[in-house]
C-alpha cells in the first residue's frame, strides 16, 4: 500500500515536472514556401535561415518575453503555387497559427496578402499577420498595400535605385541592355531601370529592352549575340533560376566581359555554374551583405549558420531580421496573442540589424528600409556560395536605401 502510494507520488511529481517544462509558451510561425519541386532550394534555404535566426537571435538568448516563450517554425510546402498556398494558409490557421511567413514568388505573395486581408475583415477579433521576407513586387507596398502585410526585403524599385547608383557612378557605362522574363516582375524591373537611369544619367542610352518567355528559352545564345552586337557596356536583368544561369553563361560565352547586374545571380547553384568566368562580371543587388560580414556578431552568426547547415548558403540576409523584429514587437505588447497590437508595434519599428544595418519598418507602407548593397562575384570572399570557392562581396553600400522614396499606399488601419 505504502509502496503504491510512493509510486503514485513519484509519477505525479514527474508529470508535474514535465508539465513545467512544456509550460514555456511556443509561438508558432507558419513558413509557407516551396519545399519540393524545382524551386525547393529557395524554400529550403529560407527555412534554414529562419531556423538559424530563431535559434541564435531569439530562443537561445531568451529574447522572447524574457525567455518565457520560444518561437517554433512550422513549415508548409506550397509548391510555389498560389492555389496551394491558400490551402496551406487555411491549414495553418486551423492549427491556430496566426503568424504567416512567405516570400518566394510575388504571385504567391499577392494571393496571400489578399486572403489575409479578407480573413481579417471577416474576423476582426482573430486577425492573422503576414510577414513577407522576399517577395519584391513593388505593388505589395504600393497599390496593393494593406495593414497586415509587412515586407522585410527591399522591393524591386529600391534595389533598382541602389543598382543604378552603382551604374551612375561608373563613367565607362554609356550603353545599357535590359533583359528580363516576360511577366509582372520582369516588366517591373525593366520599367524601374528605365526610370532611374533617365533620372540619374540621362546620357546613358538603353540599347535594348526586351522580355523573353519565362522558363521556356533553351538556348540564350541568340539573345547573347544581340547584347554583344548592341555594344552594351552593362546588362541589367531580373532573371532568376535556370533563366539566370542560361542567360549569364550565354552572354559570357559570347565574349561579353562587362558587368552583368542581376537581382538573383548567385547561390542555389548559380555561382558554381558561372565559376571563374563570372568573377568581376556578375553583380548582385540585395538587402544587407554577407561579405565582408558587416559586424562581428554577423561574422559569428554566419559562421554558425554554415556549421549548422553545411549544404546550404546564407543567401538572403534580410530573412534573419524577421524573427528578432517580431520578437521585439511581441515584447513591446507583452503577449504573443494580440496580433493587432503586435502589428501596430511592428509598424514604424527601428531595429539595429547585424546584417542589414539600421532597419526601419516604414509606417506609411510597411516596407523595410535598410542597407542595400551591390555585390560583385569574386574568389576572395570569406563566405563562399555553392562551395565554389567564390562568393559575393559588397562593393557599393547604400544605408537606409530609398528612405524618401514615395509610395502610393493608402493604408487603412483597423
Amino acid at each position: 500500500m505504502n509502496k503504491f502510494n510512493l509510486m503514485m507520488a513519484t509519477a505525479l511529481a514527474a508529470g508535474l515536472a514535465a508539465g513545467a517544462a512544456v509550460a514555456q509558451e511556443k509561438v508558432r510561425i507558419a513558413f509557407i514556401d516551396p519545399l519540393s519541386g524545382p524551386f525547393a532550394t529557395t524554400g529550403t534555404q529560407g527555412l534554414a535561415i529562419y531556423r538559424h535566426s530563431v535559434k541564435e537571435l531569439v530562443n537561445e538568448p531568451g529574447a522572447l518575453l524574457d525567455g518565457q516563450a520560444e518561437f517554433e517554425m512550422v513549415p508548409f510546402d506550397n509548391k510555389i503555387s498560389a492555389k496551394e498556398s491558400l490551402i496551406q494558409l487555411q491549414v495553418a490557421m486551423d492549427q491556430g497559427i496566426r503568424i504567416i511567413a512567405q516570400g518566394a514568388s510575388s504571385g504567391v505573395a499577392n494571393a496571400l496578402t489578399e486572403a489575409v486581408a479578407k480573413h481579417n475583415r471577416r474576423n476582426p477579433d482573430d486577425p492573422v499577420i503576414f510577414l513577407n521576407h522576399s517577395a519584391v513586387d513593388p505593388a505589395l507596398t504600393n497599390d496593393k498595400c494593406q495593414f497586415w502585410h509587412f515586407r522585410f526585403d527591399a522591393n524591386a524599385d529600391i534595389k533598382m535605385d541602389a543598382l543604378t547608383d552603382d551604374i551612375a557612378a561608373n563613367p565607362d557605362i554609356k550603353k545599357v541592355y535590359v533583359i528580363g522574363q516576360d511577366y509582372s516582375f520582369g516588366k517591373a524591373v525593366a520599367a524601374a531601370a528605365q526610370r532611374f537611369l533617365k533620372e540619374k544619367r540621362p546620357d546613358i542610352e538603353i540599347v535594348g529592352n526586351e522580355l523573353h518567355p519565362i522558363g521556356k528559352v533553351k538556348d540564350f545564345t541568340p539573345y547573347a549575340r544581340k547584347i554583344v552586337g548592341s555594344g552594351a557596356d552593362a546588362v541589367i536583368t531580373g532573371n532568376w533560376g535556370g533563366d539566370m544561369v542560361g542567360l549569364g553563361k550565354a552572354v559570357m560565352g559570347a565574349g561579353f566581359d562587362k558587368p552583368i547586374y542581376t537581382y538573383y545571380g548567385a547561390t542555389s547553384g548559380i555561382t558554381a555554374a558561372f565559376g571563374e568566368e563570372g568573377d568581376g562580371i556578375v553583380k548582385l543587388v540585395g538587402a544587407g551583405q554577407v561579405n565582408p560580414a558587416p559586424t562581428p556578431e554577423a561574422q559569428e552568426f554566419i559562421e554558425a549558420f554554415y556549421v549548422s547547415f553545411p549544404d546550404l548558403d546564407f543567401g538572403q540576409p534580410q530573412m534573419a531580421n524577421v524573427a528578432p523584429m517580431l520578437a521585439a514587437a511581441i515584447n513591446e505588447v507583452g503577449n504573443a496573442t494580440d496580433i493587432k497590437a503586435i502589428a501596430y508595434a511592428l509598424e514604424g519599428m527601428e531595429y539595429d540589424s547585424i546584417v542589414t544595418g539600421k532597419t526601419v519598418m516604414r509606417e506609411s507602407d510597411h516596407q523595410a528600409i535598410q542597407t542595400v548593397t551591390v555585390q560583385g562575384q569574386t574568389p576572395e570572399a570569406a563566405f563562399e556560395y555553392d562551395k565554389s570557392g567564390r562568393g559575393m562581396v559588397a562593393e557599393t553600400v547604400v544605408e537606409l536605401a530609398s528612405n524618401d522614396a514615395p509610395t502610393t499606399c493608402e493604408m487603412k488601419r483597423p
Binding site: L211, T221, P222, V245, K249, G253, A272, A273
Partner: protein
C-alpha cells in the same frame, strides 16, 4: 551581315544538338513503333552521369563512359520492361515510357538535388575558336558540330551500307520474315533501343555545359523533340536532320531580329491606334518576333501535318 553569319552558325549548333536527340528517337520509333516519352530523360541521365564521372576523371572520360552507361540502362529497360509491356499494345507502352520519364526525373532529384550543377566545358576547349565582328564563337561549339556530324555520318553508313543496317531495315518492315531467316529480331530491337538511348545520353553530355544540368532539362527539350520528328517524318534519319536544322535556325533567327507587329502592320497599311495601352488589340500591336519564336516550331508542325501528314521526308502512308 556579320551577325547573320554568327546566327547561321548558332542555329546550326542548336539544330545539330536537336538532331542528336531526334535521331535516336526516330530510329526507335521506326524500329519498334514506340514513341519513347522517356527519351529526353535519357538525355538528362547522360548529362548527370557525365557530371559525376567528370568529378573523378575529367570531362573526356565522362564523354565516353556516360553514354555507354545510359545505353546499357536503355537496353536493360527494353529487355526487362518495354518488351513485357509490348505484347499488350501501344497504349501500355506509351504509359510505360511516360511513367519512366517521371521516375527518372525523381531519381535524379533524389541523388543530385534540385539545383543547377556546375558542369562546364573542358579546359582544353574553353577558348574562343574565332570571332566574327566581336562575337566570340566558342571552340566547344565547333566540337559540338564535329561530334554531331560524326554521329550522323556513322549512323547513315551503318544503316545503309552494312549488313547490320540491312538487317535492321529489313526487321523494320518484315520482322517475321527476318526472324524466320534466322536473325534474332528481339536482340536487334534491344540493340537499337540501347544505341538510341546512348545517343540521347551523348547529346546530354555535350549539351550539359552549354544548356545547364538541372532536373528540368528533360522537360525543357521533351516536347520540341517530338515536334521535330513529326516535322521530319517519323522514322526518317534524313528527315530528323532537316527538321532539326530548320527548327534550330527558326528559333535562332526569330530571337535575333526584333521585328515587331507594329512594323508589319504599318507596312501593310494599318495605323497604330493612339491610345494603345487601352486598346483591345494592344497585345497584337506590341507583339515582337522574339516573343513569337518559341511557338514557331509548333506552328510549323501544324502546317506540315495539314499539308504533308507523313512529314517532310517520311514515307509512311498510315
Amino acid at each position: 551581315m556579320a551577325l547573320f553569319l554568327v546566327n547561321v552558325l548558332d542555329g546550326f549548333v542548336t539544330g545539330l544538338l536537336l538532331f542528336m536527340l531526334c535521331s535516336g528517337l526516330t530510329l526507335i520509333f521506326s524500329m519498334m513503333g514506340v514513341l519513347n516519352f522517356a527519351h529526353a530523360s535519357f538525355y538528362m541521365l547522360g548529362a548527370y552521369f557525365a557530371y559525376q564521372i567528370s568529378l573523378v576523371t575529367g570531362f573526356w572520360a565522362g564523354l565516353l563512359i556516360a553514354p555507354l552507361i545510359v545505353g546499357v540502362i536503355g537496353a536493360l529497360i527494353e529487355r526487362y520492361g518495354l518488351r513485357r509491356v509490348h505484347k499488350y499494345g501501344h497504349v501500355p507502352e506509351l504509359i510505360f515510357t511516360f511513367g519512366l520519364a517521371l521516375l527518372i526525373e525523381e531519381t535524379v532529384q533524389f541523388f543530385w538535388g534540385k539545383s543547377q550543377l556546375p558542369f562546364s566545358e573542358p579546359a582544353a576547349l574553353d577558348f574562343a575558336a574565332f570571332a566574327i565582328a566581336g562575337n566570340a564563337f566558342p571552340a566547344y561549339k565547333v566540337f559540338m558540330i564535329a561530334v554531331a556530324m560524326g554521329i550522323f555520318l556513322t549512323l547513315l553508313y551503318i544503316l545503309t551500307k552494312t549488313r547490320i543496317g540491312m538487317t535492321i531495315q529489313a526487321a523494320l518492315s518484315y520482322p517475321e520474315t527476318v526472324q524466320n531467316l534466322g536473325h534474332n529480331v528481339p536482340l536487334v530491337f534491344m540493340c537499337v533501343f540501347g544505341v538510341g538511348t546512348a545517343m540521347a545520353g551523348l547529346a546530354g553530355v555535350i549539351a550539359g555545359p552549354v544548356l545547364g544540368v538541372f532536373p528540368g532539362m528533360a522537360l525543357q527539350l521533351g516536347s520540341i523533340v517530338f515536334v521535330t520528328i513529326v516535322i521530319g517524318g517519323l522514322g526518317s534519319l534524313w528527315g530528323a536532320l532537316v527538321a532539326s536544322l530548320i527548327i534550330g535556325w527558326l528559333q535562332t533567327f526569330a530571337t535575333a531580329y526584333d521585328i515587331t507587329a507594329e512594323q508589319v502592320l504599318t507596312a501593310i497599311g494599318f495605323t497604330k491606334p493612339e491610345l494603345i495601352w487601352d486598346h483591345p488589340l494592344q497585345d497584337l500591336w506590341t507583339l515582337t518576333l522574339p516573343q513569337l519564336g518559341p511557338i514557331l516550331p509548333y506552328l510549323l508542325m501544324i502546317i506540315v501535318l495539314v499539308l504533308r501528314p507523313q512529314g517532310l521526308m517520311g514515307n509512311r502512308e498510315s
